[in-house]
């Protein structure tokens, strides 16, 4: 059945209200079960041995002593995870990331694993495994990795379009844009060129990766796991282990944060392989150290920006060259940086050239609007420099060049109705812009863009005989979506919110659902639920017709009731959903609706942020005084959780901007794999984060929903950089803008000023 997915304005009854979330009670009482909170009878403890080297050949692994330790039930290496994907590159990369195959590619790369009766025994067993390494030269910096003489991370990689015989670390080169940038620069009154670097950051979810795996010799298995996509995990694990997809049931636990870091498998295939070998359930929970060294992070980058503009503020040419490191395996991260860099603007001549580069660091995973924050830092910092150079207010400068409906985006498509201008207008009139700043204080703003994704989605609605409603979805609830999705079902069926119970179904209960990424949860499952409800309403109408003994065509659904239409049915009292449901055993059995589709029509999303800072000129410390987020969210189904996404994303961006970074030593080992020295913002670091939701409906969704989860991590880096620049006159081109970097900037500036003064007085 095809459904109309276009937006239809309507007066919502429950959508848009701030109802309590259904999983709230479990989560405030400690009952909610996350990845590490499940147990199985006879379970073993799984642990992983990891490489202490950034790059090394593994000459031999001797597991014999570990195997003999009493209480050890299984020891595995890559020999136990043979290539069952016929060399399919993307899957083989995932497999090799799960367990090193002949070479350790980064500090923390798994090389062996054990399952034992308890944690103490497992720990002892790891110590008894002897690995014979031959250290190889390594590279961890993206610019160094691009040099001709750099150590090669993956011998099979060649630069596309380059020398077919030459090993290289450049796995992909992508270009986007239109017009003629050189002509644009020639036409400009001034051209500004700047270079930037951003360091690697981690998603920093508080819950480490954890799973409980159980596989038997009959080829059947179960996996309880903290994941953003249990269907994807099922498919990946089944392929990597040579299992039938239907025989591996994956259940998504409550998830303690993911932000993109739980979108593909890490140690889950290892846990399954251990379980299969031991023929017992295996629980495998990563330590925080392992989470930092071997999962997640996003790229570090090096970016060059060139903008040409007329004195009146019109941008005539825009060029970005972006180098993103993907860790030890190729990704699409540089490409996404190239696509998003100029997406906020309406440009006649624009170009991005993006490189995906391999280094000896962990495999990069998605991190909330992956790749966009770094590109936006470079672009939006340069935008401010250009605005200042031509003497224009930075908001007016952006407004003059902002994209609008009909603009051809730098990455190809033509925009429908979008919200970049309204967010900029809101910034312009925001009360925060009127607050007077004190000494060493500064104000900055920046814009950000992110795509939304639709993807494969599947949902079932089951109506109980008492008129209450079960909704099953296959997207994971990463931050309150069960509340939003229940609201949508309640709205569509015309029942109270309290009568709806939304469950994240396991992989045996629903068809495939794509991973909860790309801000798709509420958009796509919301759409599937609307259509599943409409499907159920058709059944409800048919049952009402049967009860009334009238033709189905003469029944309509209005406000949660079946209404018989036409003069001759005047005597028939409308039947409520509950009344029809009560009779369902006798009118044809259970009433359900379902929908399986690819959710098309995802919109795009924009945000503009304002940030006030105070910088201590003697220490370089930056304090965030005030912060405001303005975002086009489409229809806000549950405004509390929309605000929560905006605030959380901004906070992650603030941490990234100021203090978070992976610090690698000369030996290529990560020096700060813990929450003490990987400094995510604490409660006392942040002010209240003001939010303003703009509801510009997405024309591709019946309720006008856009994804809201990611966009607001994009502007903070540049907003803070611009604010710091305004506070102390130092332009920061390296993120994080940690106190040592800012203080050094201030000192360099002072020395330059003094030299200038000396020159002037000498002259």
């Amino acid at each position: 059945m095809t459904h109309d997915s276009s937006y239809k304005p309507r007066d919502f009854k429950v959508v848009g209200t701030r109802v309590p979330r259904p999983d709230g009670l479990d989560k405030v009482t400690g009952r909610a079960r996350y990845g590490a909170d499940m147990s199985a009878p006879g379970q073993l403890v799984g642990m992983i041995l990891r490489s202490p080297h950034a790059h090394a050949e593994i000459r031999k692994i001797d597991t014999s002593r570990a195997e003999k330790l009493p209480g050890v039930k299984a020891v595995i290496t890559s020999d136990d995870l043979p290539d069952r994907v016929n060399g399919r590159r993307d899957m083989l990369d995932i497999l090799e990331n799960c367990m090193a195959r002949g070479r350790a590619l980064y500090d923390g790369h798994a090389v062996a694993a054990v399952a034992a009766i308890d944690a103490e025994t497992a720990k002892q067993a790891l110590k008894l495994i002897k690995v014979d390494y031959r250290k190889l030269p390594h590279v961890t910096d993206v610019d160094e990795a691009m040099r001709d003489d750099a150590p090669v991370v993956q011998p099979w990689v060649r630069t596309p379009g380059g020398d077919a015989d030459k090993q290289t670390n450049v796995a992909q080169v992508s270009e986007f844009g239109h017009g003629d940038v050189e002509a644009g620069f020639a036409e400009a009154d001034l051209v500004i060129e700047r270079s930037y670097k951003t360091e690697q950051t981690h998603q920093g979810y508080i819950e480490p990766h954890a799973c409980l795996a159980s596989v038997g010799p009959d080829g059947q298995g179960e996996l309880w796991v903290t994941t953003q996509g249990h269907y994807t995990f099922r498919n990946q694990c089944a392929q990597l282990l040579g299992m039938d997809i239907a025989k591996l049931k994956v259940t998504s636990s409550e998830i303690g944060g993911g932000f993109g870091g739980k979108t593909h498998v890490w140690m889950e295939p290892v846990a399954l392989a251990l379980s299969r070998k031991a023929n017992r359930p295996v629980k495998l929970v990563l330590t925080r150290d392992e989470v930092f060294r071997a999962t997640g992070p996003t790229c570090s980058t090096s970016i060059d920006i060139k903008i040409g503009a007329k004195r009146d503020g019109r941008i005539t040419g825009a060029l970005a060259v972006l180098r993103y490191q993907d860790g030890a395996f190729p990704g699409i991260w540089g490409m996404l940086g190239g696509m998003t860099a100029w997406a906020c603007y309406d440009l006649a001549n624009v170009k991005s050239v993006a490189y995906d580069v391999l280094v000896n660091r962990p495999k990069v995973a998605a991190y909330r609007a992956p790749s966009a924050p770094m590109a936006a830092f470079a672009v939006e910092s340069t935008m401010d420099i250009v605005a200042e150079a031509i003497g224009m207010d930075p908001v007016d400068f952006r407004l003059m060049n902002a994209a609008k409906e009909g603009t051809r985006a730098s990455y190809g498509p033509t925009y429908g109705p979008i919200g970049i201008r309204p967010t900029l207008e809101a910034v312009k009139h925001h009360p925060q812009r009127k607050v007077k700043l004190g000494p060493n204080q500064g104000r900055g703003m920046a814009c950000g863009f992110w795509f939304n994704f639709g993807g494969q989605t599947c949902s079932t609605v089951n109506i109980g005989v008492d008129g209450t409603v079960n909704v099953s979805v296959g997207t994971v609830d990463v931050g309150g979506s069960r509340a939003s999705l229940s609201l949508i079902a309640a709205e569509e069926l015309g029942v109270p919110y309290e009568n709806v119970k939304c469950t994240i179904a396991d992989t045996a209960a629903l068809g495939h659902n794509d991973t909860t990424e790309g801000s798709r949860g509420t958009f796509s499952s919301g759409m599937a639920i609307i259509f599943a409800c409409r499907n159920a309403i058709d059944v409800l109408k048919a049952r009402a017709a049967k009860m009334w003994e009238i033709p189905e065509e003469e029944v309509e659904w209005r406000d949660g009731q079946a209404v018989a239409v036409g003069v001759k049915h005047d005597n028939l009292k409308p039947l409520t959903l509950a009344e029809i449901a009560r009779k369902s055993p006798n009118t044809g059995g259970p009433i359900a609706g379902h929908n399986e589709a690819v959710a098309d029509g995802a919109g795009v999303s924009f945000a503009s942020h304002i940030c006030d800072v105070e910088v201590d000129p003697e220490t370089g410390a930056t304090k965030i005084l005030r912060y405001a987020v303005i975002q086009d969210a489409g229809k806000a189904i549950h405004p509390d959780y929309v605000e929560g996404q905006m605030q959380g994303a901004a906070a992650q961006g603030i941490g990234w901007a100021l203090n978070e970074e992976y610090i690698y030593g000369k030996d290529g080992r990560l020096q700060n794999p813990g929450f003490l020295d990987y400094r995510i913002p604490v409660c006392s670091d942040l002010p209240f984060i003001d939010t303003q939701i703009l509801e510009i409906p997405n024309p591709g969704h019946p309720y006008g929903i856009r994804g809201v989860g990611e966009t607001s991590i994009v502007p903070p880096l540049a907003a803070i950089g611009n604010a710091v620049s305004n506070a102390v006159g130092v332009r920061m081109n390296h993120v994080p803008m940690s106190p040592p970097r800012i203080l050094k900037g201030i000192k360099t500036q002072r020395q330059a000023d003094a030299a200038e003064l000396g020159k002037a007085s000498a002259g």
Binding site: R18, P20, R21, D23, G24, L25, K27, V28, T29, G30, R31, R33, Y34, A36, D37, L69, P70, G71, A119, E120, T121, Q124, Q203, G204, Y205, I206, E207, P208, E254, I255, G256, G257, G258, F259, T287, R288, V478, G479, G480, D640, Y641, E643, G644, Q645, Q647, G648, A650, A651, Q652, G674, F675, L676, I680, P681, V682, C683, S684, L686, F688, I689
Partner: protein
């Protein structure tokens, strides 16, 4: 491996509890794996995230930085002990009402820490709340709604306290 276990007699959420643990085992593991209380979470294992916050003889601690053996003869409270039967503690209700949780993994730790704060300081300023909760990391919310929920709970508790006082003085009269 054979290691002599330590026999521990303790009180958890008011109940007498006994368990045997490895001498080097932390209280968090004992609570989760031996007592069956999974409300306290391990986010880091090094005292840097506060997800395992519990109280030990009334003081707020990270259960990952206490040995199980140290609990002998002492009193522990966890998030599981916060509600009074069916009645949630005001902090618990306000966290739900104010959407102060997204993924919820840090929530038990925040609730335990916030309760210790409000028990000691019933009317904290925003700054006092922020510093008292600085040992609890949240990666989802930006802390905004958490701080507001704690403020709201403080107000609720103050109102309850005044009401109780009034009833008491009425009774006395």
């Amino acid at each position: 491996m054979t290691v002599a276990g330590v026999h521990v007699s303790t009180t958890i959420n008011g109940d007498a509890v006994e368990f045997v643990c490895h001498p080097g085992e932390v209280l968090l593991d004992a609570l989760r794996n031996r007592v069956g209380l999974i409300g306290a979470k391990e986010g880091c294992g090094t005292g840097d995230c506060g997800a395992c916050s519990v109280t030990l003889d009334g003081r707020l601690v990270c259960a990952c930085l206490v040995l199980g053996a140290e609990a002998d003869g002492r009193a522990i409270t966890t998030v599981e002990g916060m509600a009074d039967g069916e009645r949630l503690h005001p902090l618990q209700s306000k966290f739900i009402e104010h959407a102060a949780l997204q993924c919820g993994i840090c929530t038990p730790g925040f609730l335990v820490a916030a309760k210790v704060l409000l028990d000691r300081n019933p009317n904290p300023t925003v700054e006092e709340i922020r510093y008292a909760l600085a040992g609890n990391l949240c990666r989802c919310t930006g802390y905004d709604k958490i701080v507001r929920a704690v403020q709201a709970a403080a107000k609720d508790l103050a109102r309850d306290a005044t009401r109780k006082k009034k009833t008491r003085s009425k009774k006395a009269a």
